[in-house]
């Protein structure tokens, strides 16, 4: 069964239709790369899936369960949306780390706030917090930054900040992790370290959706590639199919710009 299934997702901003009906599904452990020119709706798609924008139409299923239906008021309440968000993690283009917290605090903050809401929290605060601290450190270690634990974001390089941001998303154990152009805000010499972490996650079979302009990377890491153009999925296929033998004329034109 698909871990994530998106049906007929549409998004309008006033008169402008940015997503014109997007359908796709993703199996557990797979990595999906989303490519396409700017303005094609890639970022809006990610923002809709994380409910930073509320889709105008369409449905979202996680593990076969309908979590969102634009026509069903009950899935649109603030409480429901907040709950649904926890199925997913999102890594932003410009990191959005919290500047007043250290790398470690950035990671541990959200799980601690969530833990407070659990009924068993009252008597076991210390044990629960210790557990979260331990997990946060493990994850910081996984992205290779345990030595930067107590550094504030402004003391870290862009690549390090993005790795902390990845750790911050991972600590909540999302079913699917989304990346919105994770290396676009980085200097070229810093993209490698971030891509390496993502590649490592792919090997560990984390389910991921990556919006990227790094074609070589998409080709290496993705199980499937979506080419988005003007608010629809113009073509989908394996990296091999899309990159070596694209069928859609627009895909060809788009990829042509990346050659030479």
């Amino acid at each position: 069964m698909a871990i994530l299934e998106v049906k007929n997702l549409q998004k309008k901003f006033g008169d402008l239709t940015v997503l014109k009906g997007v359908d796709f599904s993703l199996e557990k452990g797979q990595t999906l790369a989303v490519i396409g020119a700017s303005g094609g709706g890639k970022t809006t798609l990610l923002r809709c899936l994380n409910f930073l924008e509320i889709p105008t139409k369409g449905q979202i299923f996680v593990n076969g369960k309908l979590i969102f239906d634009a026509d069903d008021e009950r899935t649109l309440t603030e409480k429901e949306i907040r709950q649904n968000r926890l199925n997913f993690g999102l890594v932003f283009q410009n990191f959005n780390l919290f500047p007043q917290y250290t790398a470690f605090q950035n990671i541990a903050l959200a799980p601690k706030l969530l833990a407070k809401e659990k009924p068993e929290f009252a008597g076991k605060k210390k044990a629960i917090y210790d557990e979260i601290d331990k997990k946060s450190l493990e994850i910081l270690n996984r992205v290779g930054l345990s030595d930067k634990k107590d550094f504030y974001p402004h003391q870290l390089s862009g690549g390090q900040q993005q790795r902390v941001a990845i750790a911050r998303a991972l600590v909540l154990s999302p079913s699917v992790l989304f990346f919105d152009e994770p290396t676009s805000a980085l200097d070229p010499e810093l993209t490698g370290e971030v891509l390496k972490v993502i590649k490592q996650l792919a090997e560990e079979e984390m389910t991921m959706v990556i919006v990227t302009h790094e074609m070589q990377f998409a080709r290496e890491v993705a199980d499937h590639v979506l080419f988005m153009d003007e608010g629809i999925i113009a073509e989908k296929g394996s990296p091999e199919e899309i990159f070596t033998n694209p069928k859609n004329a627009r895909t060809k034109a788009f990829l042509g710009r990346y050659e030479s």
Binding site: R82, N96, L113, R168, L172
Partner: protein, 219 residues
């Protein structure tokens, strides 16, 4: 003579200090309310508050003080403020709180609007509630941004208290000037400057310390 002057000036300074303290304590929460209102989605409320802010910031505090103190008596025929020193003090407090609340509200608005929307979004995708986002993420960043402009306003307030001299509130300047009339000496008036300098000096140090405390992160 010196002891007499010192006693009179200190008594005046106490009034200045009260005016300063009460204005600050009153104007900060009022400023926050005006700020939230001026960013509200309710258009008429927003328009009215923006208009008031424009008027208050666009006219001299001295004029506002005169209108608030004399206005009710001369226009409406009833003196709201009561007679004597107490009445003058209340009118001054009202004028100062309104004026400073408007300035503060604009500082707060600037501070809140300067926080990138990505900060809230990052909190939201991590499952935080709106109030968690405000208290755990936004608030500290807003405070860091508003401390320097607030420090400026607070130092300005120290000196602005002297404007209440215009309605004869018996604050520091009034106390110094009284000696010109009664004893024909001007040095007590000059000496009031020392009080302002020392007080604003202490505030500068304290506010600087707060600013420094927030230096551990950058926004």
């Amino acid at each position: 003579m010196f002891a007499e002057v010192l006693a009179a000036l200190s008594k005046g300074f106490l009034v200045t200090l009260e005016l300063f303290g009460i204005t600050l304590v009153g104007a900060i929460p009022c400023g926050l309310l005006i700020c939230l209102g001026s960013m509200s989605k309710i258009k008429p409320l927003k328009a009215v508050l923006r208009f008031i802010i424009w008027v208050i910031r666009g006219t001299p505090l001295m004029l506002q003080l005169l209108i608030i103190y004399y206005g009710p008596g001369l226009i409406l025929g009833s003196n709201w403020w009561g007679s004597g020193e107490h009445g003058r003090f209340i009118a001054t407090i009202v004028a100062f709180i309104i004026n400073y609340a408007c300035y503060f509200s604009e500082i707060f608005r600037g501070g809140i609007q300067a926080i990138p929307v990505g900060q809230q979004e990052a909190g939201a995708v991590l499952g935080m509630t709106k109030s968690q986002i405000f208290f755990k993420i936004t608030l500290m960043q807003v405070i860091k941004r508003i401390v320097p402009p607030m420090s400026n306003e607070i130092i300005t307030l120290v000196k602005d208290t002297s404007l209440s001299r215009i309605i004869a509130l018996q604050e520091l300047i009034w106390a110094g000037q009284a000696f010109m009339k009664s004893a024909g000496i001007i040095w007590p008036l000059f000496f009031t400057g020392v009080y302002y300098l020392v007080f604003s000096g202490i505030l500068t140090v304290v506010l600087g310390k707060i600013e420094k405390k927030l230096d551990y992160f950058k926004v």
